[in-house]
């Protein structure tokens, strides 16, 4: 297998002994490493320690006279807030739908444009463009020009087919956010899958075709197994970025109507900057960090396995 042997060669190359560093050179590598390690350590620890502290005290910017240690009251408040369970469910829905849409459509698109056809280079450029659009532009573009119930392009399509245009943002707030985010992340998935497909074993494919394998069989036994690792990568990376979707919600629905499109990240934001309750927000933040760490544990293992050091 080409993939296996390539990886072996890789490992072999890096396993070659690097000559012993000279004694005078032993200190310098550490000095070079220090600034990055130190800044990242501060970046990680200081907010974490502060969050832990804020989460166990009474800390509302609107009531500065109330202070003092209150134990787990902030946690209790955040976790028993009726908005909380809604926000957790919304976060999972948002994450799950976007991941399913982008992985399935991304793989299909990548397979479609894997082979040469007229204008393929232009198609590639057009396809990846939405990924570089900043989230606030993405959100307003969809809110105003696509989903507006009277003047939006989608409304025109509905009218063309004789249907009543939808009130996207008030009737399907979470679904609308899913569409915006999926539109932005589909190019990412497509791009990764395209890159992965380029390393397919062409001879093996050719052999399978000669032997009369149908396209479905090729998909089942060759393409999908080959894409396995990149699917895992796409799922994990999207988990990390989409757990804390913020700008799209902030600029379109503002979390509403009610809590219909509030996710955990937006709920924390509301507690901190709209209710001015830094204590409760910090308790929520620690919960978000916990969520992210569970996701991260998987990613670290995944990437770590592929890291040929």
């Amino acid at each position: 297998m080409c993939r296996v042997s390539a990886r072996c060669a890789d490992t072999f190359l890096y396993a070659l002994p690097v000559s012993e560093p000279l004694p005078m050179n032993r200190l310098l590598p550490r000095l070079l490493l220090t600034p990055a390690v130190a800044t990242l350590l501060l970046w990680m620890l200081v907010p974490l320690v502060m969050s832990v502290y804020f989460s166990v005290i009474r800390y509302n910017l609107m009531q500065p006279e109330q202070t003092g240690f209150i134990g787990f009251e902030n946690f209790e408040y955040f976790l028993t807030d009726p908005s909380f369970s809604v926000a957790v469910l919304n976060t999972i829905w948002l994450l799950g739908s976007v991941i399913v849409i982008t992985v399935v459509m991304g793989a299909a698109l990548a397979l479609l444009i894997d082979e040469a056809f007229p204008g393929r280079a232009v198609v590639r450029l057009l396809l990846i463009s939405p990924f570089f659009v900043m989230p606030t532009v993405n959100a307003l573009l969809w809110k105003h020009m696509m989903m507006h119930p009277i003047y939006g392009a989608l409304a025109q399509v509905w009218i063309f087919f004789g249907a009543t245009p939808l009130e996207w943002l008030s009737d399907f707030p979470l679904g609308s956010i899913v569409i915006m985010v999926a539109w932005q992340w589909l190019p990412f998935a497509t791009l990764i899958f395209m890159t992965a497909l380029q390393s397919m074993n062409r001879e093996q494919l050719e052999a399978a075709r000669m032997d009369g394998a149908t396209y479905l069989q090729q998909l089942r036994y060759l393409y999908i197994p080959h894409l396995g690792r990149s699917i895992a990568v796409v799922v994990m990376i999207e988990m990390i970025f989409l757990l804390s979707i913020f700008a799209e919600i902030f600029t379109t629905t503002g979390g509403g109507p009610g809590d219909a499109s509030t996710n955990v990240a937006f709920l924390i934001f509301k507690q901190a900057l709209l209710n001015f309750d830094a204590g409760v927000a910090s308790a929520g933040a620690l919960f978000a960090v916990l969520l992210a760490n569970i996701a991260a544990a998987f990613l670290i293992r995944l990437v770590g396995r592929n890291l040929d050091t």
Partner: protein, 276 residues
């Protein structure tokens, strides 16, 4: 072998479907571009206008009414400076880990990656309080520091994977010839790594330019970036889509073109080298 048609039906079908899907997915952006050149009345015409005399008035008005250039300058300064500082900190670290591998190198790399996974909202209150105490709210310096820190793990990782691919033999040779570590870095490694530095910088420019969480929360009228300028158009007062489109187009055009050129590096950077 018998001469086959240059365009077999399968190819024609593939081409048609691919183009159809692509145009469908690109449609929102195409619409944005068209709308930017319409008048406000044309922008909300029902049925939508496809043929019209393009106007540049929107671009002029965006600048006059909302001070586009101020926000563009903020975006440019914050993304460029944070990228440069980030490179200055990340490059030595990546170099050290790629060429002087120790027992803990892998663990350090993994730990750096894990800091990128912290959700930004988890640090919102502490960072807000710290920025307030330090007088860095709504300043470019504040944004530069935050952008740099949140991109640092990606920078170290991308640079590390580039440096790792530089053959050690070249360095051996330089060392044998009596080059010290500085000369080794400056004369040998750096020229070889310029490509990696450039693509890392490119990716971080894109990420900082589009950053919306911190810029929305930590900046407003003074240090606001283009992302915050666009967000200010979300208020429902009146319909000014043509101007919104013009402003959006000016905000995304530079970085979309940038992105086209750096798509390959982007894949490697965003997947931390797990997909080649």
């Amino acid at each position: 072998m018998a001469a086959r048609s240059k365009y077999p039906p399968a190819l024609i079908l593939r081409t048609l479907i691919a183009w159809l899907l692509t145009l469908l997915l690109f449609f929102p952006l195409a619409w944005l571009i068209l709308t930017a050149f319409k008048t406000e009345l044309q922008a909300i015409a029902v049925p939508p206008l496809l043929w019209f005399t393009p106007t540049l008035d929107n671009f002029r008005e965006v600048e006059e009414r909302s001070d586009y250039l101020l926000y563009a300058r903020n975006s440019l300064i914050t993304s460029v400076v944070s990228t440069v500082i980030g490179l200055l900190i990340a490059a030595p670290a990546a170099y050290s880990m790629a060429f002087f591998k120790g027992r803990h190198t892998k663990n350090i790399l993994m730990w750096m990656l894990s800091t990128k996974m912290m959700p930004a909202v988890g640090a919102l209150v502490p960072i807000y309080v710290l920025a307030q105490q330090a007088g860095l709210l709504d300043t470019r310096t504040g944004l530069i520091i935050i952008f740099m820190l949140s991109n640092l793990p990606i920078m170290v990782w991308m640079l590390y994977s580039h440096f790792k691919d530089i053959p050690h033999e070249i360095l051996e040779a330089a060392r044998m010839d009596g080059a010290n570590l500085w000369q080794e870095f400056y004369r040998v490694t750096l020229p070889l790594a310029l490509g990696g530095l450039a693509s890392t910088g490119l990716l971080c420019l894109v990420l900082s330019w589009n950053e919306a969480f911190w810029s929305l929360n930590l900046s407003s009228a003074k240090a606001g970036t283009l992302a915050t300028l666009i967000a200010s158009y979300s208020s429902p007062e009146g319909l000014f889509w043509a101007k919104l489109s013009a402003a959006s187009l000016m905000a995304i055009a530079p970085i979309v073109v940038f992105g086209w050129f750096s798509q390959k590096q982007l894949v490697q950077g965003l997947t931390f080298g797990a997909v080649k």
